[in-house]
Symmetry: C2
Subunit: 229 residues, 2 copies
Amino acid sequence: MGDMDLQIARQSATLRTQVEDKLRQAISSGRFKPGQRLVERELCESIGVGRTSIREALRQLEAEGLITSYPHRGPVVSTITYEEAAQLYSVRALLESYAGKEFAENGTAQDIHTLNEAVAEFAEAAANGAGSRLIKAKTAFYDCLMQGSGNVFVKQMLTSLHNRVTLLRMTSMTQPGRLNHSVEEIKEIAAAITDRNGAKAAAACKYHIDMAAKVALDYLRKTSENDGD
Amino acid sequence: MGDMDLQIARQSATLRTQVEDKLRQAISSGRFKPGQRLVERELCESIGVGRTSIREALRQLEAEGLITSYPHRGPVVSTITYEEAAQLYSVRALLESYAGKEFAENGTAQDIHTLNEAVAEFAEAAANGAGSRLIKAKTAFYDCLMQGSGNVFVKQMLTSLHNRVTLLRMTSMTQPGRLNHSVEEIKEIAAAITDRNGAKAAAACKYHIDMAAKVALDYLRKTSENDGD
DNA sequence: ATTGACAGATTGTCTGATAATCTGCTTATT
DNA sequence: AATAAGCAGATTATCAGACAATCTGTCAAT
């Protein structure tokens, strides 16, 4: 049998969980746009499950901040104002710096190895310009970073924040020139961590997010000039 | 009409919301203890609502981390290990320091005024030793601190962390001598914020949490020596 | 232009039913 | 005696149907 993967498909534990994933993905892929109403019955039909599962999944997403529901009016994909976006990036910088620092100072050698592999994969994906592969690589990198922080709360909070960034509906990576910078910054982070240099890792993380924030916020400011009421 | 409060009691929007509050309170008051199973039908009976409302409320608490549910086995009040408790206090220190710093540097005069009132109330409650009043005062202080930070994400995350601290089932304030120190530390925080001294406010916040963490973790270490398996 | 009433749509909540799954106990097997 | 197999009871997961409460937009009346 060798080292064959023993995990059985596990048919995703519960239906509700699968619905959550489907909805999360629909939101982050932009199929459901911020501000859009989510009508229960329509979701039931399109996903093919009963109201129970839909409603419970919606409660979860609501708690995560991905949707906002108003009593007797139902849920709406959350929108993020300019100010909130700025706040989001601030906290992200704070938490990711912390994660980077902890990783550098207390991460296992194994974690560091995995991190460097993720960075390499990200760099390669960036060079070849494959969209979905790029996203997957970036996700892997962050998963590793959060894992390495060794703090479950940080991990949880950052995951939530990352999900919410997608509500901004713009990938800072799609901005011209940003991607290459991004790769460099991430390499910087990994290098600092590999060096076991906590302060430097924290600084590199903060720099990375601050740059991403700058691009995103500039973009938001420009595009919201038209419909700012 | 003057500045009369126009808000009507609004009977707590939806039933589900009320159930959430009831459950949250039952957990933080210790009526439901960590590790305890929560059986749907029993909750329905004791709270007097249908399964729908119960189940949806449970999903919310699950997302908040207050309960953990296992597929086909139902929810259990979450438990926190020693390591997790340490991690919790670390993040709390990080976020509250940030909140304190932002408050000091960007909070409104009104917020500062409210903060000082909350501190005064807390000090007085501590002097008179009224349990529930003390808790209320401390809550008010933290609400104000988070409000003043001006960051909705920080506010949300700290609220979640505060709720989870109650899972430790020990108030660091009940430790002999701790309360007076606590009052002093909080006064220190308020003073730094009133002085608009960001760095000092951050340091004071961190110190406050670090002290609370020390007491709590020492206590946990002692009591878990017996049942640590 | 504002107010008020009405109809349609959608949510909030309850109840009952069924299948799936977990748990513990009894029984059979080596 | 230790382990495996199997069975019964308890509880959850999910669905379907029903009804009240509430929101929204429209149209008439002032």
